[in-house]
Subunit: 488 residues, 4 copies
Amino acid sequence: MLKTITYNDEPKEYCGLFGVYGYKHASWLTYLGLYAQQHRGQEACGIVTNDKGILTIHKEMGLVSDVFNEQGLSKLKGDMAVGHVRYSTTGSSVLKNAQPLLIDYAKGSVCIAHNGNLVNSLELRQYLENTGSIFQTTTDSEIIIHLMARAKTRDLQESLIYALRRIKGAYSLVMMDNYNLIGVRDALGFRPLCLGKIGKAWCLASETCAFDLVGARLIREIEPGEIVFINKNGVRSVRPKEFDFRNRHAFCTFEHVYFSRPDSVVFGENVHLVRRKLGSQLAKEHPVDADFVVPVPDSGFSAAMGYSAASGIPLEMGIIRNHYVGRTFIQPAQDSRELGVRVKFNLLKDVVRKKRIIIVDDSIVRGTTSKIRVRNLRRVGVKEVHLRISCPPHRFPCFYGIDFHRSSELIANRYESLDKIRQYLGVDSLGYLSLEGMLGCLRYPKNNYCTACWAGKYPVKAEKKHSKFSLELRCCGQGEMQNAKTHL
Amino acid sequence: MLKTITYNDEPKEYCGLFGVYGYKHASWLTYLGLYAQQHRGQEACGIVTNDKGILTIHKEMGLVSDVFNEQGLSKLKGDMAVGHVRYSTTGSSVLKNAQPLLIDYAKGSVCIAHNGNLVNSLELRQYLENTGSIFQTTTDSEIIIHLMARAKTRDLQESLIYALRRIKGAYSLVMMDNYNLIGVRDALGFRPLCLGKIGKAWCLASETCAFDLVGARLIREIEPGEIVFINKNGVRSVRPKEFDFRNRHAFCTFEHVYFSRPDSVVFGENVHLVRRKLGSQLAKEHPVDADFVVPVPDSGFSAAMGYSAASGIPLEMGIIRNHYVGRTFIQPAQDSRELGVRVKFNLLKDVVRKKRIIIVDDSIVRGTTSKIRVRNLRRVGVKEVHLRISCPPHRFPCFYGIDFHRSSELIANRYESLDKIRQYLGVDSLGYLSLEGMLGCLRYPKNNYCTACWAGKYPVKAEKKHSKFSLELRCCGQGEMQNAKTHL
Amino acid sequence: MLKTITYNDEPKEYCGLFGVYGYKHASWLTYLGLYAQQHRGQEACGIVTNDKGILTIHKEMGLVSDVFNEQGLSKLKGDMAVGHVRYSTTGSSVLKNAQPLLIDYAKGSVCIAHNGNLVNSLELRQYLENTGSIFQTTTDSEIIIHLMARAKTRDLQESLIYALRRIKGAYSLVMMDNYNLIGVRDALGFRPLCLGKIGKAWCLASETCAFDLVGARLIREIEPGEIVFINKNGVRSVRPKEFDFRNRHAFCTFEHVYFSRPDSVVFGENVHLVRRKLGSQLAKEHPVDADFVVPVPDSGFSAAMGYSAASGIPLEMGIIRNHYVGRTFIQPAQDSRELGVRVKFNLLKDVVRKKRIIIVDDSIVRGTTSKIRVRNLRRVGVKEVHLRISCPPHRFPCFYGIDFHRSSELIANRYESLDKIRQYLGVDSLGYLSLEGMLGCLRYPKNNYCTACWAGKYPVKAEKKHSKFSLELRCCGQGEMQNAKTHL
Amino acid sequence: MLKTITYNDEPKEYCGLFGVYGYKHASWLTYLGLYAQQHRGQEACGIVTNDKGILTIHKEMGLVSDVFNEQGLSKLKGDMAVGHVRYSTTGSSVLKNAQPLLIDYAKGSVCIAHNGNLVNSLELRQYLENTGSIFQTTTDSEIIIHLMARAKTRDLQESLIYALRRIKGAYSLVMMDNYNLIGVRDALGFRPLCLGKIGKAWCLASETCAFDLVGARLIREIEPGEIVFINKNGVRSVRPKEFDFRNRHAFCTFEHVYFSRPDSVVFGENVHLVRRKLGSQLAKEHPVDADFVVPVPDSGFSAAMGYSAASGIPLEMGIIRNHYVGRTFIQPAQDSRELGVRVKFNLLKDVVRKKRIIIVDDSIVRGTTSKIRVRNLRRVGVKEVHLRISCPPHRFPCFYGIDFHRSSELIANRYESLDKIRQYLGVDSLGYLSLEGMLGCLRYPKNNYCTACWAGKYPVKAEKKHSKFSLELRCCGQGEMQNAKTHL
């Protein structure tokens, strides 16, 4: 018996955003912008265009290159567009939750694309349902639109601020109504959002690598707590006082450590250069004598370079990544997950045999992959394995948009001490970058970064028992194959 | 250059419904029930099942046999289910409007499948939007659920009656919440809905041919104005006084004339036998001497048999229908629609050549197909063509769920007299069944039938400028490829 | 557990052919020609076009309307084309065997589409393999091309006659090389093939209903033993003496009884009119008193009309066919095939209840469907069921292209007497048309018709142990999912 | 107007091979073996299994992970299998040419998978056609089977050697008949082929990375000129004397430079380590002062590491590769190919700005991509760009299985001198590795390597006017959408 397994050993983020105003082929530019940000979500994607006030949407499960073709893009007419790529865990990964969400309400049409996670969505949804709202998705985005619809005004800005005052948590939003492209970033600035310009057209993107591909230049980041309205009159910035926490932010450090592309500028810094610094600092904190520094490709490359440069130990390729690996894999029903690791990574036996190596990785979540890799290295005759991680141990859940595994599955919680983790992984030595060390490599003072997943200090208090599935667990919906459970 | 054309010369109805309570393989039984009612809607279909209170949906564009397979049905677990087949014109035929609609609101989960058309949907939608509701589809069904959500009670029955009091028009509904299967028929009973039993399980269907296929027996029709709740306590019937118009109904005569399958029992009578009677009456009203009575297959068969029997003129096959014809067809870009007629129907040249024939058809809407057919008959050498239609001329739009073409396209409106129509069609004589004659063939007194499309007398007043597209024209939505237009 | 069943209770034929020379949109005309002949094969179809000597092919599993779209037809350029629709039993229904077959050999390119069945294919294939040929399909067509390739001449006509001299059995062929469209009919004329003209273009088709749809007029049938070459010089007919059996033919009577469309002219007669005559003759041979004559739709209609007219007993609809039924159906794993019958046919209970009815069907092969139908009629309260079949009992296999079931499954072989069959089917009386009676209804003297399946007299001797699967059982191939078994 | 472009700026090879004997889930192991070798061909793949002598095939256009699923693999039963991944240029990339090819002939069933290219295929095909063979594909493989069928013996080994004596060129073959798995490598050993063992089962693969994934250990390479028969009696090696050129081989150097995965062992050496040596030698031949060594990812990494180590200039990431890029891309119809380069690669602006960098790439074929990349580097402010290529300039076509572009398109042929190339590319300096330098880094004496593409010395003489399309240009075939042209 064969079975199909899905890779899910990596932390996941929800979304990548793109928006454009005033570009002739807006849907095509958005296609490019999503293409560049595919790493931020591979399960679904969608584009809404605006052709003289008429909004048209196309969204599907799948990669950008599979969902959109010439014909599809040609039908999405207009010079304004909003696009979204989405990741979601298998259970709730359904078309109904794909974004953007396109809605009709008393004030016209509006679409919304969201990166981040609200922490009071359950409470808001209960309030909304109890006062007569009905829900067709389990996304936070639908809550935001419901709130906008409740605002007793026909003014877009007032409606939006009415909603933003009521939502809590992490959100970068790209929205569009009949006339405006809108960018929003929450007051603490958890998730990135940037403003760019291409010719006379304006664009918004989660990461600057999207600007590089579409040929736009980065104007600036949208400020935490800022709302920008882009329309025929240009860009207008609004920053309600209550959203201005100038001295305290919560930039997600994991964007630097893992998520963002190394060629992006995030929170004011190039990601690759930050990672190099993390690697150098790691070498300082956890030196060890060895023959080679071996990166775990591709995300460990930058830090490994930093480690190699700081330590003087040469960089070497000991692990190869198979880039043709899809999201699923077929294996015998009884097999362990060892094969899944082997499919993705192979070892350069002739390189590592009889050598002392330092493996530099960007993070360990559950540890299963690392453990299997170390065992394989031992089998091919490596002499010593020293594991170095370019961030601190993850111990706490993220409520702001990253899907680590359950706390009890995190390796740093399963073992009482570093040495126990080391024993579990089977390495000769193990070193995590310190929290102070990590923050010291970053541009802004440390109170500007969220350290919830490492230190358990949550910048915005979450609802009790909030979980990624909190909405799923009590909601119903509509989609390709969807579950709805009563809330009793 | 080739182009793909879509057949659309026939009147269309929106939907067929099926529901089941207490049957182990509820999704499979519903699949059967929809299969039998495929003629009521070929563009989309969907099933919602209920497994111990958890509702799961699968719906797609396409025929029942294409949308559902073993695997899909197996995933739809539970012993309660609601199914829907849908027709819609090309413009608005999109997944977002496919049914059933599955919603989550304060009172739990609820799904709804609707056959018919509300006449105050625009007004209701404006009211709902103006008081804070947002819309993701352009269906009447979403309006009904919004109204239920607004009822200030947690009681299902009260919520439902609250909504039914506010909606006007034609509706047969099959609904399901976490615990109940619900059947509803509007007070005038425009559209059919029947209750059946299979073993200990109960089922609901638009037409009894669904019961024949699933092996259920017809218990009775749901009464106009009646609501039935089916749950672990059995069937409970509710009929609010205000919905009881015992002396006035509006059964849709077109169900008898054209839509329903000849093997169904509709409004208390077998459809084929009604059509035979219409044919006999037609022979009495419009006798003519001829060699053969030739039915237009398949829907004209029953009436032609009646005409032949009453007139003593033998029945003969002169026209053959190609049953492999799909919904679309490829033809040269410049071609007229003549080919489309030829693809669907061929003539038996050796049969009709040099003969005087009476063609019996169930209706003429635009007349284009009839005209082409007559021309082709002349070409193969028919001597005389006498056309007999088993219903009166259509002159007025239907606001209750049937999509005739625009009034100005109806042949009976384009020509001032019967003789002009006859000339246009090129027939030697033309006879429509009289309204009185038609009603005289039906079981109930004539005030029980809707004659809006023939006589222009509308049993329920429609909103001004109401049209099939009224919601589409000012609404936005979400779907596979969807348009949203501002209402300004 | 659910399972998907495939309907297979009906006799099947292999193919329908179409060819055109000198028509601008040749691929589109061929698409039409296949569309009209879809009843001759629903499992695969293909078109080869010829654009100034370059042959291009597209073929797939599926119906004509599914396989070809605007884009696909547009790519098939040229003013010559050959098309094919194919039926095949499940086992060997694979793309590799789809036709036309397009081949390159020393004399250029050639494609072939074949209707019928060779009876010496095993022997020929063994000879060819033993002398160095390799095979990629299990079709007879590949054998024909191998033989043409062996002819020691570059002349097309000589090569073709070389091959035809060696093959035995039933074959109507439409072929095309770089310059010619070719039509071939075997010397006994088992299968039909007609020549038509549309403007200045020529076409070939199995049935004339294809000419009606494309707008061509029937010029004549291709004669048994005739080869026609159609090229820039017009139509040239060749009829080698050895292929001229002017006084003996083997027209397939089952084309008249069952296969061909009622609107086609086959072997010189309109099919519907032949069937009417069969029905009249049946009434004479097997009269019975009853209330109604009830046809089994759609194929029993013509004969039922004849029976009704000859007997004076009125025709009535008692059985309805569901035309939305696809080729497969989902049912519970343990279920019998009763549901399959119910899906396809429903009874008009109110019509047949308490009546004595005569059911007229075109044939009984295994009898299962008939038996179930009779049982259902009894259940709804029919008083008497008299079954009349418009052909003699099938007792012998067909080696010329029709797939009856195995001899041992044929109802006429399973029961020793007519009365035993009657008992098995559960009818009150049973009557088959006599062989003499059937042949007496046909245009030509009886030595012109093949009576193998009824009388066991085979016009061309078959190889020993020949079966439909003979090639499959010892051959290998290439395709979507293909089996190859050694011949040891 | 949008258009879809296909990336085709890279040299391509035709195939990767895998075979297994005696493994329970042979199809699944083959799936793994193809997965690991996906880089050797991304356009089509196929597997043939052998279940007790019955061969079954499944092949399709697409990646291994798209073509095969649980269900598909489960149907491919048996403990023997042969698999193939294929690249082909767009024109001839059709299902009919997908491999393995499964054939039936007088000696039973046989399937063949081929890596390499024959140089006398046209001549052989003409001979075969002129003596009566017909062709359904344009592959060399079909020629080999035709030749085997012509051998006047029933013995497999003799038939095979008969064919091998007649074919010329490069071929590694994995074949299977009803009883044997067979591996063949041509006498000069152009393409790799290895023998591995997993438990008691044997396997064959083009590259050893396939063995690593399936968990097999490398036993040895198949020798040039060797044939191995693997069956129930174990492995039997045959090496006809005439195929033993012990002192002269023609190992393809481009396998080392570019094609093979860095973790594979090819021609006795680990590919990554060879590339490091090439990089070191390159640093010695073409030193230059700079701030960083920047690899072109991913294939330039190994050589860049060698260059960095040998020169002491630090390695840095200046170019990022987007691994989500598919095979095609949508862009405005009028756009140049600049966007295509940007989609695949982005620059790390903050890293390279104002720096002197050495770019190390594995090869330049047409030079277009390099030129655009350099221009983009200038735009973001790089100070100096020094380009180093880890192989000599390509000047001559490969007739043995690699698809460089036409000679006239090769940059080394378009410009008369190195300096002209340098000017065209816009770099400050340009250095190619010398032929002597390259060969000096390899394990065997230089007469063991093919240098045709660099030096124009062809180890096996090709047919006159041989081209990759030579067969296509005069052949016809059968496939999804296939052209056939006459040879006149």
